[in-house]
């Protein structure tokens, strides 16, 4: 009886850890409670237990309660190693998720948060907020639709950083979509 309860608690902590791991923003205890199917208070308890476990074993991950909820981050002691790794990384400094999101906004603007998530197939709220924080995209108005959702577009800074004079200087998408490619166009014009 008690063993089953312990097992269930262990399983919930496991699920909690997974959930916090994939999240790119603080998760409120309300959301955690809903996802784990527990009371809000228990969600906070579970977080505290997990945070304590990390601290006790001197883990590279720490769990913090910050504004807006619970968030995993790296141990401050590991900062020098992380900084070196991040700076040495040959990859673009934006994550794949961020690059995908900024690409969609660039080509589909003005676009809603919901449209972006639908195109990417994953919730993009956190990534969107990070891009706004970075000044690459911004709120540009509200859609004339029920709920009047916020519309997003790229900023002048985005163009400046890319070295583009205007949005029309973005490479055209049509040839990459494969539909009317160069060959097809050539053939079409021959037919005329």
């Amino acid at each position: 009886m008690s063993e089953t309860a312990t097992d269930r608690r262990a399983e919930r902590i496991r699920d909690l850890e997974s959930l916090l791991f994939v999240s790119d923003e603080p998760v409120s205890s309300t959301v955690l409670a809903q996802a784990l199917d527990v009371e809000r208070r228990e969600a906070d308890d579970l977080c505290e237990q997990l945070a304590k476990a990390y601290a006790e074993r001197g883990a590279g991950i720490v769990l913090r309660n910050v504004a807006g909820g619970w968030r995993l981050t790296t141990h401050p002691g590991a900062a020098p190693v992380i900084e070196q790794y991040v700076l040495a990384s040959r990859h673009a400094r934006l994550t794949k998720a961020a690059l995908e999101t900024v690409a969609i906004v660039a080509y589909k603007q003005p676009v809603t948060r919901h449209q972006i998530s639908a195109i990417r197939g994953v919730n993009s709220d956190g990534v969107l907020r990070a891009l706004v924080d970075r000044g690459l995209i911004d709120e540009v108005g509200r859609e004339d639709a029920p709920g009047r959702p916020m519309l997003y577009g790229t900023t002048p800074e985005f163009l400046e950083r890319l070295g583009l004079p205007s949005l029309s200087a973005l490479p055209p998408l049509a040839p990459l979509l494969g539909v009317p490619d160069d060959d097809a166009e050539a053939e079409a014009s021959e037919d005329e």
């Binding site: 992380i82 900024v102 080509y107 589909k108 890319l162 055209p172």
Partner: protein, 250 residues
Amino acid sequence: MSDDRGDVSMTAFTVELPAFTGPFRALADLLLDHKIDVCDVAIASVTDRFLAYSKDAGTWSLDEATWFLAVCAILLELKVGRLMPRHEALNEEDLLGVSPDLIYARSLELTAFRRVAFDLSRRFEDEALHHSREAGPPPEFAHLYPDVLEKVRPAMLAQLAAGLLRPPPALDLYHVTPIRYTMEEAVAAVMTRLGPGGRARFRELVADCDERIQVVVRFLALLDLYREGKVDLAQAETFGEIEVAWQGAS
């Protein structure tokens, strides 16, 4: 001796195509070896050229004409097999006259790939239960890279956007005029018009066709039925009427 003469003449017969320029015999070898895609070769223009060549040469060798026709027939069959959707049963080795052993080995190979594909699908599904973290470094490290677009090029964004916005590929027939007629339909139409034990002229079998491509598909269906021994074809004279006679069991 006559074989040799045929060879020499066929070597002299050259083609000029986007995919290949040179002796037709070499082209045929490359096609049959799968070194060149049969879909990249316009067989009609090869045929036109052959007729012109034969006329110019002034002499007709039965051997070379037969060889040419046989090769063209095989190429057409291969091409039909490649272009027609859902013609799963086509076995290219049958057409190429390769040994039954090789056909058997080939079918074993495909079976092995199918089994491995099943194994892969289970691995894909198991692995889909693992989720990775895409968020990157936490905001504490944001100061490290003030210009996040430093290594980003517009072309890279275009590629990403295209990958996400591209419509899902439908049935792919990009290299041919859209074919709205299927072999199944055409076979059914031919059989209906013939009826069991019936006879008809090809002209009658295609009387209801509106477009040339529909006639072509129906003709291919007829060839298919001929290959399966279900119909017999007869043509008394060149460009004369083609008589079709049902030979099927029922």
